[in-house]
Amino acid sequence: MSAQAKSFGARWLGALSANAAALTGYPASLQVADGELDQHAARFIAVVPDSASHFPRARQGQVGLAEGWALARAVHDAVAADEAMPDKRVIVAVIDVPGQAYGRTEEAYGIHQALAAAAQAYAKARQAGHPVIGLIVGKAMSGGFLAHGYQANRLIALSGDAVQVHAMGKQAAARITQRTVEGVEELARTITPMAYDIESYASLGLLFRQLAVTGDQAEDLSAVETVRRALSDALADIQAAPDEASQRDLSSRLQGNGREASVEVRRRLRVQWAG
């Protein structure tokens, strides 16, 4: 880490956890810090670059084998520790992941299973009553995002060009769809879900809130205050949901406009389900 500039993920983790000491026992690419949010205990988790990682394909902040399993443990251990507690700690996934690790070793040793373990841990935390919030401070790409943050009750995103959500990098997307990179960019201008920018993503209705704060403002006290306030609001919004099921599921993502087909499919399915 030392020689590199700190990533957005690492900087925001520090800012939000009041620079609490990171927990030991995790790979250097996974920072876990316990702090508080609105007088509730909170665990902040970020995947960060580690240029010395044992796994070369996961040195730039990707979610690889080690990160997947360590994420699962970090979340699982918090759930286990709070099992008998009425007030479950908040879990904040600080998201700045350029993707999953792409490599032969990764596939051979079942990276899909590592990411499944991480996604399951977050989903189970949510179902156990932990408020889970995903805070997108940089890239939220593809499998990396699915493993780290996409299971959150509420998603909040910062703004600026560095904040992006997508299923695949432009080069690879161009190759797979047999287009040029320019062709991919051109389509992204008109087809909302193909766009990389956070404004387009926000228009799909998946975010609880988008903040007028950029990723590089983690040392700006008023920006940090804005983010903390949004996290508090998200927490209150989760707790204000009408019943236990909707406090613990992802239904709030369908409240927005932007994914009409997703809503319509569910509406018709419900009508036909019981027969």
Partner: protein, 288 residues
């Protein structure tokens, strides 16, 4: 398998999604939801002048398998590589969400997912990714009540975010014709370079991602022949089993120990990978 069995064999891999469903359900029990005549097609493909399919490549059907109430979600491998768009993804997620409600109300219905998919449909990128996250959530929620059965037979295999969905299933059934991996071979080659991963090296790909290897390493529970009756028989067993929490998802410690023994600078080979998993299994009884 003897000669007469071979002659009676009917390939499952070659069937369309709708034909697969018809073969698996008890005769006359099937009821398709949001069938093709609903014409709920992809709004995003149409905007890109790409021909849509009337069911967006996903068949949802309720029915019974040997008397057990199930909901089958079958992805059509031939349409857009089995990719997950907004509509198809919402069909799977929505059906699973309704199954969660039913299970919580004492009406268990067992989901069977036929996962032939390259993952997110890139023409609908963020809508596909969001739907896959919702599918993940519903699978985990359902496993509190019922087993969730995943089936990967080929020809496409199961990749991308849907390989994570496979990893979340309580019971995974594959054939030798199946491949299971997070990243498709072309994408790995693009991102990591051809020296690390040659997407045209089919023997290497099958040796690492193929059904046989995934079974040998404990990353799937069942390996069966590409035969309709064999696949159905495994599904019958799986839907009748109680929920299981397979070690491959739960045993974090075993995997972390395994990772420490990996030498990532050496190109992974199938036999070494198997040996590493076996050694770990012998230590901790981890992956079986």
């Amino acid at each position: 398998m003897n000669t007469s069995e071979l002659l009676q064999r009917q390939s499952f891999v070659e069937l369309s999604a709708r034909a697969r469903v018809a073969q698996l359900l008890d005769g006359g029990s099937g009821r398709e939801l949001l069938g093709p005549f609903e014409r709920l097609t992809s709004p995003w493909l149409a905007l890109q002048d790409i021909v849509t399919q009337s069911d967006d490549g996903v068949v949802i059907s309720r029915g019974t398998v040997d008397g057990v109430d199930v909901v089958i979600a079958a992805i059509e491998p031939a349409f857009q590589g089995g990719s997950m768009g907004e509509v198809g993804g919402a069909k799977i997620a929505g059906a699973l969400e309704l199954a969660v409600e039913d299970a919580a109300n004492g009406k268990p219905v067992v989901p069977v997912l036929l996962l032939e998919t390259g993952g997110v449909r890139l023409q609908e990128a963020n809508c596909g990714l969001a739907a896959i996250a919702e599918i993940h959530a519903a699978i985990v929620a359902l496993r509190a009540w019922v087993p969730v059965v995943g089936v990967v037979t080929g020809p496409v295999g199961c990749f991308g975010g849907m390989s994570i969905a496979a990893g979340l299933c309580s019971h995974l059934i594959v054939t030798r014709e199946a491949r299971l991996g997070l990243n498709g071979p072309q994408v790995i080659e693009q991102e990591a370079g051809i020296e690390e991963f040659d997407s045209r090296d089919r023997p290497m790909i099958w040796s690492l991602l193929g059904g046989q290897q995934r079974h040998a390493t404990g990353l799937v529970e069942d390996l069966c022949d590409d035969d309709v009756r064999a696949v159905r028989a495994r599904i019958v067993e799986a839907v009748q089993s109680g929920d299981t929490a397979p070690a491959r998802i739960e045993n974090i410690q075993a995997f972390e120990t395994l990772l420490a023994a990996i030498e990532p600078d050496v190109l992974a080979e199938a036999d070494k990978v198997r040996a590493a998993f076996e050694q770990q299994a012998n230590h901790a009884g981890a992956f079986s």
